[in-house]
């Protein structure tokens, strides 16, 4: 995998995706690069990037910073902090696109109430969403509709994106999902 991340001419690569809460604790994280080999190294990275970005206003537009020769793009909503990290040669806009895709897909999946509580209640969806957006560092899908479609639709034709569903289908999906969480 090291090879995958090192070459300047290789494909764009994501080093990690982090979703932290308002205290910097993990909600869901996924590392693709072995730059942070241990859990302690990961936690240290999360802590410093959280502290570093804490005071910035990344609520309307995604913000960006350099950190340890990495580009980190981040966006906050309610008590959730989203981060995506890439190498310092990476195309910033491309990474921002991935973060936006993740963010929008999760908004769709959580029906626009994105906060820590909702995210934890639907952690399975978040995990699936992260699983679908990047595969071992390689960008798999960035279209939020397709992403949400892949994750949410349980028993339908998965190739159809969410936007192409009929309203009744969408309602049915939502209802099914709601009961599922309430019964937990």
């Amino acid at each position: 995998m090291a090879n995958f991340f090192s070459s300047r001419d290789s494909c764009p690569a994501v080093k990690n995706i982090l979703i932290l809460d308002s205290e910097g604790k993990r909600v869901a994280v996924k590392y693709y690069s072995d730059e942070w080999p241990t859990n302690a190294a990961k936690l240290a990275f999360e802590k410093s990037i959280f502290t570093k970005t804490l005071k910035s206003n990344a609520r309307t537009e995604a913000e960006i910073t350099m950190f340890d020769s990495n580009i980190v793009i981040y966006k906050f909503v309610q008590d959730l902090h989203f981060f995506i990290t890439g190498g310092d040669e990476e195309n910033e806009l491309l990474l921002a696109g991935v973060l936006q895709g993740l963010f929008d897909a999760i908004s769709l999946l959580l029906r626009n109430t994105i906060d820590k509580r909702e995210a934890l209640e639907n952690l399975d969806l978040i995990f699936l969403c992260i699983d679908e957006i990047v595969d071992q560092g390689m960008i798999l899908e960035t279209d939020s509709n397709v992403l949400a479609g892949k994750v949410a639709i349980q028993n339908m034709d998965v190739s159809a994106p969410l936007s192409e569903q009929t309203i009744s289908q969408a309602l049915a999906t939502a209802r099914e999902h709601l009961t599922r969480t309430l019964l937990k």
């Binding site: 494909c11 764009p12 595969d135 937990k184």
Partner: protein, 886 residues
Amino acid sequence: MAQTLVKKDDDIDDEDYSPFLGIEKGAVLQEARVFNDPQLDPRRCSQVITKLLYLLNQGEMFTKVEATEVFFSVTKLFQSKDIGLRRMVYVMIKELSPSADEVIIVTSSLMKDMTSKTDMYRANAIRVLCRITDGTLLTQIERYLKQAIVDKNPVVASAALVSGIHLLQTNPEIVKRWSNEVQEAVQSRAALVQFHALALLHQIRQNDRLAVNKLVSSLTRGSVHSPLAQCLLIRYTSQVIRESANSTQTGDCPFYDFLEGCLRHKAEMVIFETARAITELSGVTTRELTPAITVLQLFLSSSKPVLRFAAVRTLNKVAMTHPMAVTNCNIDMESLISDQNRSIATLAITTLLKTGNESSVDRLMKQITNFMSDIADEFKIVVVEAIRSLCLKFPLKHRSLMNFLSNIIREEGGFEYKKAIVDSIVILIRDIPEAKESGLLHLCEFIEDCEFTYLSTQILHFLGIEGPKTSDPSKYIRYIYNRVHLENATVRAGAVSTLAKFGAMVDTLKPRIFVLLRRCLFDNDDEVRDRATLYLNTLGGDGAVFQTGEDVKEFLFGSLDIPLVNLENSLKNYEPSKESFNINSVPKEVKTQPLAEKKAPGKKPIGLGAPFAGLPSSVDAYDKLLSSIPEFSNFGKLFKSSSPVELTEAETEYAVNVVKHIFDGHVVFQYNCTNTIPEQLLDNVTVIVDASEAEEFAEVASKPLRSLPYDSPGQTFVAFEKPEGVPAVGKFSNMLRFIVKEVDPSTGEAEDDGVEDEYQLEELEVVAADYMLRVGVSNFRNAWESIGADFERVDEYGLGPRDSLAEAVNAVINLLGMQPCEGTEVVPSNSRSHTCLLSGVYIGNVKVLVRLQFGIDGPKDVAMKLAVRSEDEAVSDAIHETVASG
């Protein structure tokens, strides 16, 4: 449902409510047993998997046994037809990354899913299987993967292609067989499939330049519609341009038109990728650069921080190579100084500093001053470095830039930041002579209030080098001496060294420096005292002000020619033995490459610093050395060897010192000679000794030194016979005689013919103290009593006017060459009388004890009562004779 609602009510005040509150690994692992139920509850199982994933995500580790257990029970879930659960199972298997023998369990299930009618199963099963599989299994599923690559469902195709990209690292030969399918997938209408296919195709062909060239040429004609794929194509294109630039020298860049066209792409991501690629083209012309800069300039005023950042970062890089091209953006750049995102603001500032001209410096500095207070240290460091290069670019502006640096160095800041400022000031001082004096004073003021020991010592060291060369070195002394009062031991020691450097370099300051150094002798730290003592002694602080020799300077302040690592290793390996540690034995080869490069130009033989340590110095070593010389081998046991006595002034052509070796019936002079003239080689070096003022001595042998090349010390010996057991004294005058040969400094080869020459050395004396060994006793009183009063001799002497009692005591101790006991050599100040106890062994191995009672008799006149006890009457008398004649 009701239960859940109640639960939520309970926790409503609890901000930290989490469905995973109080989750515990053991309990969850227990729960995982539901996977084994014959009647599977998909919902429940999904929840348990989520919990397991949550635990793993929080950094919880499963033991090997736990992981295996979970893995096996998870495999049972393939029985369920629930899609949601199946998705969780896929994720879980990937997280557990099972071992090879475990993989077999799920292989068949996954292969079944791979060929399933459900696209979602197919896509995910491919990803999971490729993730956990090894090469052997790959050949079995290769057929399915090839089919999947060209599957009409983009999700399936992407899954296969991305898996192919990962597998290429481990099983390249298999993946390379898929070329045809991948090539077909590049033409896919689905955006992401095209992106993945292009990435894989390029990686398959990346070592075949021609193939990459062909791929790029065909694709640049316009069949790529995915923005991500377009970004890849731009990267590959600039790679082709880079590689072809090396072979062809034609001015026109073959794919430039394609790149320029991409600047009008609708996706910002592609526009930016293109602009960046153009700016990074090697040998790009201003005309080619302009459209890219224009696009980036537009991005500078975007509402999106990511866009502004990307643009300003790229322009910042361009400013290093093409500063003029970026000046058009200066107005937009200046408005970014107040950007909320401090990364953007810092990049804007540093870009402006790179592109700014001399006239705009002052205005910029004003803007930056406001800006500095509200950015973090890491950004400040970037700014400081940019200002440093600006100052080097416009040396005339050093005043305002140096002022800026001195202002910010006084403000709060962490170590790295302060270090960056100090480094900058130091570099400016070195490179801009006019900035030197003000820069040094800024540094002086900084160490007055510096909390970082490292920086203080570095600055003190630097002051020691630069300070003495300034017009008025004395003004720095106060700042330096203040450190001796106010700082920790490390800084104090550094300050002592710096003071000594001023003393060594500036003769007029010497007396004042010695006063300050003497005060440091009472420091409560060993290192500080040791340094002060060393400097006082070597620089001549014991009274006589003489010009400090180059060799002393080299010894004290010269750079150590030996890599510290090697010295450390040698010292570690050194076992205390007869051989004293020899610094010449330390290997000079540097092991690591970068250090060796650094060392090469400065390669220089060790100066005079080393020989002291290099020569055998203990009696044992001398004994060995002398007995190895046949002429001296029958002289018997060596009684005493004196410390080296210099016979030449410092900084002369030849440096010679002598060690007196006393035997029972002989004296051997060992002349240590050093040739300090690189253009000369001395052959057949001898010392002609005139013993006319030493009647009792008769020369018996001499051993010439065959050759004395530049800067490599050698020894020549002269031996005298004297009456056995008699402490004969006398004066010897010395003349160095040798054949001098010219040496070509460039080749290092000496001419064959030489000229005989002589060199006058100073006189040498053998004194009574040479016959006395300094041997202490632990309890003087006991020793005094036990030796008895049989051969006690007591007498009184007037020592005449003396500066102080202490001086008189020292004079007598040196005259007798005996060891003071019980600390009695120290005279309390203002005391009018003092008793000093001495002990020693006289030639013939006779133990001698001396009790000296001093008293001040009248104004400054010192009187002394000398009581000697020894094992031999003659010896006791001899001591009195020594004093009487001294």
